[in-house]
Symmetry: C2
Subunit: 339 residues, 2 copies
């Protein structure tokens, strides 16, 4: 979807991607099939590109450093990637810029868990510091007696223990910062997860001005704190008293921003391309209310029903195999904005 | 733009195109660079494709016949292409289905022009029967004395002489017919030409119900008359008394339908892909009022101004050379629909 947005603005796209026959490879000028850290591949990518971006935050941060050393611009920069790749660094950064998060503790060994639980309360969630998304690499810990089993369950890797957040709903804000430091954000989305995976986004979410301003202020501090260029996704927990905690940041276009494809004049993909290319940001207002529904695994087989629904805009990703739970496409169901 | 629409619905695209490094080649899975009638290229295209379409009506109609003989579906079919490739056949077909056109006469020699002028009145326009678009291959004839010069000017080729139409404005209707015979059309656009080239489209055009119904009825007769599958552009002349004459038909997505990219939930490119793939047609209602402005030649250099205009959606085609008058991109300027 990033490549499609780039094409419509007249840009050629080169993709570096480890898998052959990737969906992106079918809509770009050139594909380099190689591991992200392959030196020859990075040289070729740098040589062919004016600016390099990524749509997956687990590209090694070192790769971005290497690309910059090869003389090509990258956006966002290595700092954003590093902050998003390690949950302890991420939360430390967020708290440093007054973006509140769940209370947390770094865990290096099973023995660290019991004292952390004493501080954080029960239950708490143990997550690997690095990698893991869509609910992978995390486990709930209901008592100190479960510490050893939990640490084993996540592979005995460096981890973070996070206090349970008594949230009433999950929101996200998709924001962007251009090369000149200009910042804008889309209306907030409300996200419904199932089994740790985003199922639906409702946008613009029903939210008062105070909530919207709080989310915007947090997004602004994050973008400025990271000297960020591009689109960022900020996942938020809304508490009963209306306070927002940051769950995590995604230094890229974000699944909860897919509603903008049909709900806004400039979608998040075009916005990202505009930002990294040094264009002015596009307008972020909603032109429709959208319910975005992810199509997971074999749910994609229902595409004819969605194709026949005049209110549904269908996005199919062209992935070859519909593994269980894999995001195969999404549908944006449109309705008029509330007056 | 067709390839981008196909990609977002999950289709892979293969392009056959005589020029290397074409814009389409940079957004598709595979490009075959060869003349349209190259037998090996057609075999490869047929073997790789489930359905073949075209976005240029001067592909030899014989090519479509050959593709069908190779066992691959084409949409639209050879009949639509043949009708659109020869102006005499086109107008003969149109009149046969009660779609009125300018009065015309077939011209095979300069000597045919004087008697035709006597029937059609002065001035009249002499056009080659085949090829020629954007005002190329045509010349006005103001008197019988100019007949020889006019026939020479268009290359002494088989021609058509058309009576001057005293139109008050030029309109077009972009319509579609699906595989099941379902038909729908977008709101009418009003087209402003300069030097024979489309400069601007305003859509939805200000037009009463009678005009809209007349245009829709004509489009429907054309689509059914050609047993057409896909999107068609029908250029219309509006006369002082409100009657509509068909100027010409384009058996493909049409420049005057580019406004649908930002003005409708389903744009003409997606609609064409839906039709040829056997999907249901998408909704055709306008969601915004659009002024589409073609960027010709070096006008493309003003892209930063358009990129900075929040009301302007920018489409740049990635053509490498900005020759004078060449369509390099377009801008859709949006405003709210009249209530």
């Amino acid at each position: 979807m990033l490549a499609l947005a780039a094409a419509r603005l007249g840009f050629d796209v080169v993709v570096l991607e480890p898998e052959p026959d990737s969906p992106a490879s079918r809509v770009v000028k050139h594909t380099i099939v190689a591991p992200y850290d392959d030196p020859a591949a990075l040289r070729e990518l740098a040589q062919r590109s004016q600016v390099v971006t990524f749509e997956f935050e687990n590209v090694p941060a070192e790769v971005v450093v290497q690309l910059r050393a090869l003389g090509v611009e990258t956006a966002p920069g290595p700092r954003a990637l590093a902050a998003a790749q390690d949950r302890v660094e991420e939360k430390t950064f967020l708290n440093s810029i007054d973006a509140p998060t769940a209370v947390f503790a770094a865990i290096d060994a099973a023995a660290d868990i019991a004292p952390a639980l004493a501080m954080l309360g029960l239950p708490a969630v143990l997550k690997t510091r690095r990698e893991g998304y869509d609910g992978k690499g995390q486990v709930w810990v209901a008592s100190a007696a479960e510490a050893d089993a939990a640490f084993t369950a996540i592979g005995e890797r460096p981890a973070i223990l996070e206090a349970k957040v008594p949230f009433v709903r999950e929101l996200s804000i998709i924001a962007a910062r251009g090369r000149r430091g200009d910042i804008d954000a889309y209306p907030i989305g409300e996200n419904i997860h199932e089994n740790g995976v985003l199922r639906r986004t409702l946008a613009p979410a029903e939210a008062g001005a105070a909530t919207r301003e709080q989310a915007m202020a947090v997004a602004r501090r994050i973008l400025e704190g990271l000297d960020y260029v591009g689109v960022i996704g900020v996942e938020l927990f809304e508490l009963k008293d209306g306070a927002l905690l940051v769950n995590e940041i995604a230094p890229r276009v974000h699944n909860s921003g897919h509603w903008t494809l049909d709900g806004c004049a400039t979608d998040q993909f075009e916005q990202h391309v505009r930002a990294i290319a040094g264009w002015p940001l596009g307008p972020t207002g909603a032109i429709a209310r959208v319910e975005m529904l992810n199509l997971l695994g074999s749910e994609i087989d229902a595409w004819p029903d969605f194709a026949a629904d005049p209110a549904a805009r269908v996005w199919l990703y062209g992935k070859r195999r519909a593994r269980d739970g894999r995001k195969m496409g999404h549908v944006n169901r449109l309705s008029p904005l509330a007056p």
